[in-house]
Structures are given as structure tokens and as C-alpha cells.
Amino acid sequence: MHFTNTLRVALRALRRNTLRSLLTALGMIIGVAAVITMVSIGSGAKAQVEAQVASLGQNLITVMPGSYSSGGMRGGFGSSVSLTPEDADAIAAEVANIDGLSAEVRDRNQVLANGLNWNTNVNGVGPDYPYVRNWPMESGAMFTEQDVKSLGKVCVIGKTVADQMFPNEDPVGQTLRIRNLPFRILGVLTPKGFSIFGSDEDDVVLIPYTSHMRRVSRRTSISMIRIQAADADKVAQVKQSVEDLLTQRRRGREPDFTVRTQEELASAATATAKTMTGLLAGIAGVSLIVGGIGIMNIMLVSVTERTREIGIRLAIGAHGKDVLTQFLIEAILLSSLGGMVGVAVGVGGSQALSSYNGWPVLVPTTWIFISVAGSALVGIISGFYPAYKAAQLDPIDALRYE
């Protein structure tokens, strides 16, 4: 038979049972829509993690206290956490190809200003910190090396703190009290949003780390050192030099620090997102299989129910092959039309999710093709057996079928 004629015959058959065709296709629609939505959520999450990792800064290397080298277990025990400002100074002085470096001490404190108070992150950092974190000032300026040396009572604040403490005025030049000590606000940072760990990066007050250690937290060790390598291909070398230097400074003691590059951090973070995407796609794939079984089921019912029709067709000259193609095309049409509608529903659903829940979703175009091709394949696989069964019927038996 002419292919367009076969197509016409198949379309007529589907139209004769519009409701059933729709219900059958619904299985496919739901399956494909689920795949598209799940994959969109997964890749959206992955893209967001990647963006957040990038927002940490460029060519970044972090040094943290404690050794995580042996399977994530903290080694060197008994040795108190011991990353010191001197370590940071030594790195700055001796390691080549460093663009910027900042020690960092973290704490949480109640801050007061303007008759208001607010519990926020009070971090002690160096003057390079905004540069290393790729985090420019919105207004005012960062404190300087001089402020660090003189244990200056100065600070810069994040956007959230600025909004909370100074809703109606310019915070620059005002005073913020931390542990009852007045800190002059030198500047406000640009908004940065949420970190990989979901915390608000803008909810922060930055003061010189020296002031932090002596005046505020009274700590002797620092929380981390952030280093920016001069160039992307210098990162590995800088990391090595830092490790060597710190090991040397510890004079044979167990290494009690961890040096990580941004890439290592990124791959750890995106690995989780990838696993999630795979898991979601797997769940969605199961619903595709269920949709395929639905199509096979309906096609089998349809073959039995239309035995007489098949008999008539065979009696008036259809070859087994004609009947086979007709039923196969019916199955493929059902599944791939279902697939296409499913893509539309999936894309729409993802957009809806992102606008209602604020989830980051990203519809990958390759998955659209994979879904449509996949649903056609499901149609071929699930339609073949029923179609084959129909083609094997004997015309006279099929005509007699009640």
C-alpha cells in the first residue's frame, strides 16, 4: 500500500476511537512530561550549583584547618585546630603566582545600630577579600592593610545587613556596634545571593581579621585562607607550593590542614546534582515504560476487538505486511504524538514550577529529542507484537470471529 494511504488508514482507525486513543496517549504524555520535568529540575539544579561555585571567585584555592585526606575522616587529633594568621602571611610572602589572599575568621554575633539589632555573620577578613571573592563594593570602600595592622574598628557590610539596620539611610559613615564596640561602616557590598549551602551570603559584616581575633572573638586560629592564583594553569602549582610550605612550617607534625581548589569543590558539588538528575530521570523512565505497556495493552485489545476488520481487509486483498504496518503505525502515532504533547506539558510544567517555587529549571534541548525519539521507539516496541499478531490472522477465521 502507498505509505500515505497506510498513514491515512491508521489515522482513521485512531479517530474512530478518539477517547481511547487519547487515554492511551495519556500514559505516554505523562511519562514524557515526567522525564522532561525531572531532567529540567535536575539540570537546573546542576547549573545553579555551577553558577554558585563560579561565584566563589576565580582560580580559587582554599586552605582549611583539619585534615580530611583519609576518607573524609578528620585526622591529626589532639592537635588543636591550628591555622594561624602567620600561615597566611607566610603564604603571601613566599608562594609565587598569587594574585590575592585573605585570611578569614568566622563568627556569629548580635550587632546593634540605629536602635535596631540583628544577629549576623561577623567575619574577619583581609583587604583582598572582595577581590578574591570577586565581590565588588556597591558603595564606599573596603578597609585597607593599614586597618588590619592597626586593629581598626572599621567594617563593610552585606546588602542584607544594610537593609535590616539602615532601612532608610545610607549606612556608609554610620556606626555599627559589635560586642559593644563601635565599628565605622566604610562600605556596602553588592548583593551576591545564596551560597551552595543555601545561606544568605549578603547577611554578613566584614571586619579586619586582626580586630576580629583580638577584639571580638578572641580566637588564636583562623577559619580559612582564600587564595587567588594569578592564572588558571597556575592553580595546581600554587596549591602544591602552599601544601609544601605549610607542611614545612609544621616541622614534621601531622598535616592538620586541607588545601582545595575550586575545581575540586565544584566537582564534588555537581556530582550530587548529577546523581540527583540521574535518579529523577530513572524514575521518569519507569513511567515511560509503564506508558509503553499501556500502549501494548491497548493495541492487543484493539487487535482482538478489530479481528473482523482485519478479516475484511485480508479478504479483500491486504497482505499481512499491510496489516502489520497499519497497526505498527497506529502504535507509533499514538506514542510519538503522546511524546510530543508530553514534551509540551513537561516544558510548561517546568516553567510553572520555576515561577511558582522559584526552582531553577533548565530544559535541555537534547532531552526533547531523546524524549520524542524514545517515545516513538516505545511505540515500535510495544506495537510490534500486537501488529504481528494481527498480520498472522487467517482471513477466514478472522471473518468468522464473533
Binding site: 500515505t4 494511504n5 474512530r16 476488520e309 485480508l314 479478504a315 486483498g317 491486504a318 497482505h319 471473518l399
Partner: protein, 260 residues
């Protein structure tokens, strides 16, 4: 001229049940082009079985069958399908139209297969429409079977049988479910087709329907017991006029009554 149908010592034994049924027991028959045959016999005498073999739908258990000079025993499944498509037209017992499919699409069906595979849809449509005109149903082309009367469905089935210009038209009880007036209509169509040269073989239980044909065969227990030419054929057109006159008369008396 060679006969269009030539069967010799044809047997059919159904082995499906517990006891084999010997439904046709040695039928030999020659049918010439242009014949119009009525196949009669009691229920279960093997008429449908014989028709199915004539229609190449079922293979005989024994015996030979030549259709238009072709020995059908040598053909495979697909060749048989092509033969049915090109040389035979079927009007099945009980219409066998596709449900929820318009009259026109039902008539088009045989043209979707066989040597017509390459024909364009427009040509197919045109030819199907022409056949609906022959049976007088052109105005109902877009109706579904369930919107047509029994006689109209039967005529759609006849149009479908005609659409590939078959050499032999096989009809199993084409008037079985029809009232007498519609039966006459259908027989009228058959007589017209026969006059145009189509060979027709039909099964019927009714003697007066058999009278429209040229030759009557009577089957009993799977063998032909009588084979005779019809002496005084009924002509459908004349019969139709008689019926109309009778109806008009009935109407007149009815009107006279109600007027009085």
C-alpha cells in the same frame, strides 16, 4: 471460451471439532463468463463453505480449482490476496462493513490494496463515488453504517465488491436480512451488473429471489443435487413497477377511506 471458474471434485473437511465435518463432498462445476447463479440448499448444506473456496478465502481439502485459468493451489498467501483483490468481489453474509467508517471509505477499502497501491487518493475517491452511484447511494457517501438502513448497507457492500471491477462477484445471502421491496432493489442492481458482463454467484434461501438469476444450483449435504437454467426469469424492474403500483393503489384506498 474458457470458463471463468472450473472446479473438479472439490472437498472440504473441517478438522477443528472433535469429529471431522465433511462439509463439501465432491463438487464439480464450470461457470462461464456472464453467468448469474443462485446457490440454494438447506442450512448446513455447505453453501458458505463452497463460496469461501470459490472466493479463495479457504483452501479445499481435496480437488482442483482454476480461477480464470489460474490453479489456485499453486499460489501463496500474498498471491491469493492479490487474486482476491483483482478478480473477485465479495458481498459477505451480514454486510461486514467497517463500523464508524463512512460509506465512501468502506467502498474505497479494496483499492487501498493490490495493484492499486500506487493509485492516488483522488482517483480512488472518484472511483468509489462512481460505484456508490451505481448502487444509487451517492447522496449518502458520508454516512456511517449505523446511519444507513439494512438495504442501504447491503448496497454499500455491493459497491465495495464492485470497486475493483471484478470478474466474479460472490454474494452470500445478499438479501438475507432485507424486506421484500429492498430485496427487489438489490436484485435489480445485480441484474444490471450482470447485463454489463459481470459474473455473479449468490447464495439464497428464497426461491423467488433465485428466480432473478439465470441458473440455479441446489446443494444437499455437500453435493450438487440439481443444476438447472431458470425458465421464466423475474425481471427486477418489472417487479418494482408492480410493487409501486400496488403501493399507490393501497394509498388511494387509504385516502378514499379517510376522506369518506
Amino acid at each position: 471460451m474458457s470458463p471463468v471458474v472450473k472446479i473438479q471434485d472439490l472437498h472440504k473437511i473441517y478438522e477443528s471439532g472433535e469429529v471431522p465435518v465433511h462439509a463439501v463432498r465432491g463438487v464439480s462445476l464450470e461457470i462461464q463468463r456472464g453467468e448469474f447463479i443462485a446457490l440454494m440448499g438447506a442450512s448446513g448444506s455447505g453453501k458458505s463453505t463452497l463460496m469461501n473456496m470459490l472466493g479463495c478465502l479457504d483452501r479445499p481439502t481435496r480437488g482442483t480449482y482454476e480461477l480464470d485459468g489460474i490453479d489456485i493451489d499453486e499460489l501463496d498467501r500474498n498471491e491469493l490476496a492479490d487474486l482476491r483483490n483483482q478478480k473477485l468481489g465479495f458481498v459477505f453474509q451480514g454486510f461486514n462493513l467497517l463500523a464508524r467508517t463512512t460509506a465512501l471509505e468502506n467502498v474505497e477499502l479494496p483499492m487501498l490494496y493490490g495493484r492499486h497501491r500506487k493509485v492516488s487518493m483522488e482517483k480512488i475517491r472518484e472511483r468509489a463515488m462512481h460505484c456508490l452511484e451505481i448502487v444509487g447511494l451517492a447522496n449518502r457517501f458520508d454516512h456511517f453504517p449505523n446511519q444507513l438502513s439494512g438495504g442501504q448497507q447491503q448496497r454499500v457492500a455491493i459497491a465495495r465488491g464492485l470497486v475493483n471491477e471484478p470478474q466474479v462477484l460472490l454474494a452470500d445471502e445478499p438479501t438475507g436480512n432485507l424486506d421484500s421491496k429492498t430485496s427487489v432493489e438489490v436484485m435489480g442492481v445485480f441484474q444490471k451488473l450482470n447485463e454489463q458482463g459481470i459474473t455473479i454467484v449468490m447464495v439464497t434461501h428464497e426461491l423467488d429471489i433465485a428466480k432473478y438469476c439465470r441458473r440455479n444450483l441446489i446443494l444437499r449435504d455437500g453435493v450438487v443435487v440439481r443444476d438447472e437454467m431458470v425458465a421464466d426469469r423475474t425481471i427486477a424492474e418489472e417487479e418494482m413497477q408492480r410493487i409501486k403500483a400496488a403501493e399507490a393503489a393501497a394509498k388511494l384506498t387509504h385516502q378514499a377511506k379517510s376522506g369518506a
